[in-house]
C-alpha cells in the first residue's frame, strides 16, 4: 500500500531525479548497504523504501527536510529502532543490530541529534559512557585512566576543552557537540553516523568538526554518514550525497556531479508538488462534503459543520 503512491508520483519527479527508487548498484567495497527499509510509527510512514550504500572511507551526506525520515534511518542503522521491512548488510554480511550496544560491537557508532550527552556527568565519563575502563578485577571505575585517555583523545582530535572533570552542563553547545563527536571517533568503530553534527555550533566550532571529518577521511579508516542541513557544508565535507524525501531516496550522486542548485530544485519541486496535492485533496474533500450536504441525510449533514 505504501509503495503504490510512490510509483504513481514517479513521472512528476523524472526530470530532476532520474535515479529515483532504483536500488543502488552495490559496489564491492561497500561497507554498509541498506535495502528497501520501511518504517511506520502508527499512522505515520517515516520511511517508505530507502536504499543507501556506503563505501569504505567515504563521507556520505544525508539530506532531507524536517520529517523526511533522516533521523529514523540513522536510528535504524544504529540499532536504536527496528525497521518494519527491508534488510541491511555490513561488509556484505546480513546486519541485524539487536541494540545500540550490539551495533557498536559490530563497529557502527552514532552521534545523535538530540545529543546523547549526560549533563550531570563529567566530560570523561561522557566520553566513556558504555565503554568505561575498570580497575580489573574490581568492578570499580578506573577514573584516572579514563581521564588520561580522554585528554589524549581530545588533544588528538584537536578539540579544546579546558577541563575534562567538569560536568558537560557547563560547556557551550559547540563544545558539547564536539565531545559527542569525539566519543564516537574515540571508539574502535569503522562506521560513524553523525546526526546533524553541526547543529547548535558557532562558525569556528563547526569548522573544527568539519576539519575533524576531513582528517578522518584522510586516514581512511572510518566511513561516515552525516546528516546535514546546510548544502554548502555538504559540498565541503562529503564525497557523495543522498537525499531523502517523503521516506524515500530521491537522489544519490557524488557531490562532484551535483550542485546546490540541483539539490534546491528537488526540494522546491517536492514542496510545490506536495502543496498542489494538498490543495487538490482539500478541494476533493470540499467537493465530497458538498455532495454529502446535497445528498443530506441528516446525520451526514451535521458532521462536516464543526
Amino acid at each position: 500500500m505504501a509503495a503504490e503512491p510512490a510509483r504513481s508520483r514517479e513521472p512528476d519527479r523524472q526530470p530532476a531525479t532520474p535515479e529515483e527508487d532504483v536500488p543502488p548498484v552495490s559496489a564491492p567495497d561497500d561497507v554498509l548497504r541498506v535495502e528497501h527499509i520501511a518504517k511506520r510509527f502508527g499512522p505515520v510512514t517515516a520511511l517508505r523504501d530507502v536504499n543507501v550504500h556506503l563505501r569504505k572511507g567515504e563521507v556520505l551526506g544525508l539530506l532531507g527536510d524536517n520529517g523526511a525520515g533522516k533521523s529514523t534511518l540513522i536510528k535504524i542503522i544504529s540499532g536504536f529502532q527496528k525497521q518494519d521491512s527491508g534488510q541491511m548488510f555490513l561488509h556484505g554480511q546480513p546486519y541485524v543490530p539487536k541494540s545500540v550496544d550490539d551495533a557498536r560491537a559490530k563497529g557502527v557508532d552514532t552521534v545523535y541529534q538530540d545529543l546523547a550527552l549526560i549533563d550531570e556527568l563529567s566530560v570523561y565519563h561522557n566520553l566513556f559512557l558504555r565503554r568505561e575502563r575498570l580497575l580489573r578485577p574490581l568492578p570499580v571505575l578506573n577514573n584516572r585512566e579514563m581521564k588520561r585517555e580522554a585528554r589524549r583523545a581530545l588533544d588528538e582530535i584537536g578539540i579544546n576543552i579546558p577541563r575534562i572533570d567538569v560536568s558537560v552542563a557547563r560547556l557551550s553547545g559547540g563544545q558539547r557537540q564536539a565531545i559527542a563527536v569525539a566519543r564516537s571517533v574515540n571508539s574502535a568503530s569503522d562506521i560513524l553516523l553523525l546526526d546533524e553534527p553541526l547543529a547548535a555550533m558557532g562558525a569556528k566550532e563547526g569548522a573544527q568538526i568539519l576539519d575533524l571529518v576531513a582528517r578522518l577521511k584522510e586516514e581512511g579508516r572510518v566511513s561516515i554518514i552525516m546528516i546535514l542541513h546546510n548544502y554548502e557544508q555538504v559540498f565541503l565535507a562529503c564525497d557523495r550525497v543522498s537525499m531523502i524525501q517523503d521516506g524515500a531516496i530521491v537522489l544519490d550522486k557524488p557531490t562532484s556531479e551535483t550542485s546546490v542548485q540541483e539539490l534546491t530544485e528537488i526540494v522546491v519541486n517536492e514542496y510545490r508538488r506536495a502543496r498542489e496535492e494538498q490543495q487538490a485533496s482539500a478541494a476533493a474533500a470540499e467537493e465530497s462534503a458538498k455532495a454529502a450536504a446535497a445528498g443530506e441525510s441528516p446525520s451526514d449533514g451535521a458532521s462536516p459543520q464543526p
Binding site: 538530540d114 546523547a116 550531570e120 568505561e132 568492578p139 570499580v140 571505575l141 577514573n143
Partner: protein, 354 residues
C-alpha cells in the same frame, strides 16, 4: 551561614599565635571551608554542625556519650532508608512503598519463623527477598509499563500495609529473636546499641562507593540526568531502574526488621511507617539529592538523617513539649532547605569562579 561555621574554627588557631601566625593559618582554614562547601553535601554539613553547636551551647546534656546513644535510633534507620531512596530519587523517581516494606517485612518474618518454622536468619533472608521482588515489580511498572513511580509505589504502599494488617489481624506481633535476653541474632539485627549505626555506616559507605565508583552508579546518574540520551548511548535503562527499585525496597524491609527487633514488637499500624517514610525522603532531600533526579549523594542522606536526628533530640533536651515537636521539625526542615539553597548558591559561585 558559611561564615558562621568558619568563624569559630578560624579563631581557634589564630587566637594565641599572634597576628603573623594567624595570617598564615587563615587561608588554610578558608581553603578547608571552601572545599567543604564545594562538596555536594557541603551545605548540609555546615548546617548540621551549626545545629549541633547550637544545642551543645544551649543544653548541658547534648554533647555527652549518653545522649549519643539516645540519638542513634533517631537517625540510623532513616540513614539506611534514605540511602536506598537516593538511588531511586537520582533516577528522578520516588519510592513510597518502602513504608509498606518496613511494616510488611517483620510481619512476614514472624510468620516464616513461627508458623512455617524457618530459623531466624533464613526467615530474614526470605522476608527480604519478598521485599526485593516487590521492589522489582515497582521497577517493572515504572520502567517497562511506564506508570508514574509516585502512583505505582503509593499503590504498593497501601497494598502491603493492608496485607500487613490482614496477616497480623491487626494485633501487635512479638518479634522473634527480639525478646530479652537478646541472642546474637537480636544484637546483630537491630537490637544491639550500635547495631543500626554500624549497619547504617556500612550501607552508606557501600552505596556511596557504588554510586560514585561503579558503572551502576554512573548509569543511575546518567538515566536521571538524560534518560533518552542514556538509552541512546546503550545504557539498559529498564534494568538499572528495576535494580534501583529493588535495592530501595530491600532497605525498607531491612530497616523494618531492625526496628521490629529493637522494639521487640511490631505495631501493625501504618501511621508510624508513613511518618518514617517522609522523614527518610526529607533526609535524602536535605542531604542534597534532587527530587527531579540526576544528582544525589548517599553520604548527604546520612548527614540529612543526622540533622533530623539532632534536631529532634536537641529539641527534646531543650524541654520542648512533645506536642510541639513535629511543628518545630517542620519549620526546621523548611529553614534548613532554604539555607541549603543559599549555601548551594555560594558553592556554585565558588566552583564556577575557580
Amino acid at each position: 551561614m558559611a561564615s558562621v561555621a568558619q568563624d569559630p574554627a578560624s579563631r581557634e588557631p589564630g587566637g594565641p599565635g599572634g597576628s603573623a601566625h594567624s595570617r598564615r593559618a587563615l587561608p588554610g582554614w578558608r581553603e578547608i571551608g571552601g572545599r567543604v562547601i564545594a562538596l555536594r553535601e557541603g551545605s548540609i554539613i555546615v548546617i548540621t554542625i551549626v545545629t549541633a553547636i547550637y544545642f551543645s551551647a544551649n543544653t548541658s546534656t547534648f554533647f555527652t556519650g549518653e545522649n549519643f546513644k539516645t540519638l542513634l535510633p533517631y537517625f540510623a534507620p532513616f540513614a539506611i532508608l534514605a540511602a536506598g531512596e537516593v538511588f531511586v530519587m537520582i533516577l528522578g523517581e520516588i519510592d513510597l512503598s518502602i513504608a509498606g516494606m518496613y511494616l510488611f517485612a517483620p510481619i512476614i518474618f514472624d510468620k516464616l519463623n513461627t508458623s512455617v518454622g524457618l530459623p531466624l536468619v533464613p526467615a530474614v533472608i526470605v522476608a527480604l527477598l519478598v521485599c526485593m521482588v516487590v521492589g522489582a515489580i515497582n521497577g517493572v511498572f515504572v520502567s517497562i509499563v511506564g506508570l508514574s513511580s509516585f502512583v505505582v509505589t503509593l499503590g504498593m504502599l497501601f497494598t502491603f500495609e493492608g496485607l500487613s494488617l490482614i496477616i497480623s489481624k491487626g494485633t501487635p506481633v512479638a518479634t522473634p529473636g527480639g525478646q530479652p535476653p537478646l541472642g546474637t541474632f537480636g544484637k546483630v539485627f537491630g537490637g544491639g546499641t550500635y547495631s543500626e549505626l554500624i549497619w547504617a555506616v556500612a550501607i552508606v559507605v557501600i552505596l556511596q562507593v557504588v554510586l560514585t565508583f561503579t558503572r551502576w552508579g554512573l548509569y543511575t546518574v546518567a538515566i536521571g540526568s538524560n534518560k533518552l540520551g542514556a538509552a541512546e548511548a546503550g545504557v539498559r535503562v529498564n534494568l538499572v531502574m528495576i535494580r534501583n527499585f529493588t535495592l530501595c525496597a530491600l532497605t525498607g524491609g531491612l530497616v523494618g526488621i531492625f526496628e521490629a527487633v529493637r522494639s521487640a514488637t511490631v505495631q501493625p499500624n501504618p501511621a508510624g511507617p508513613n511518618e518514617i517514610l517522609f522523614l527518610a525522603i526529607a533526609a535524602a532531600v536535605i542531604g542534597g539529592t534532587l527530587l527531579t533526579g540526576g544528582s544525589g549523594t548517599v553520604v548527604g542522606a546520612l548527614i540529612g538523617a543526622l540533622f533530623l536526628g539532632i534536631l529532634k533530640d536537641g529539641l527534646i533536651l531543650q524541654g520542648v513539649q512533645a506536642n510541639y515537636l513535629l511543628f518545630y521539625t517542620g519549620l526546621a526542615v523548611i529553614v534548613a532547605m532554604t539555607a541549603n539553597v543559599f549555601v548551594g548558591r555560594v558553592r556554585r559561585g565558588q566552583t564556577r569562579g575557580g
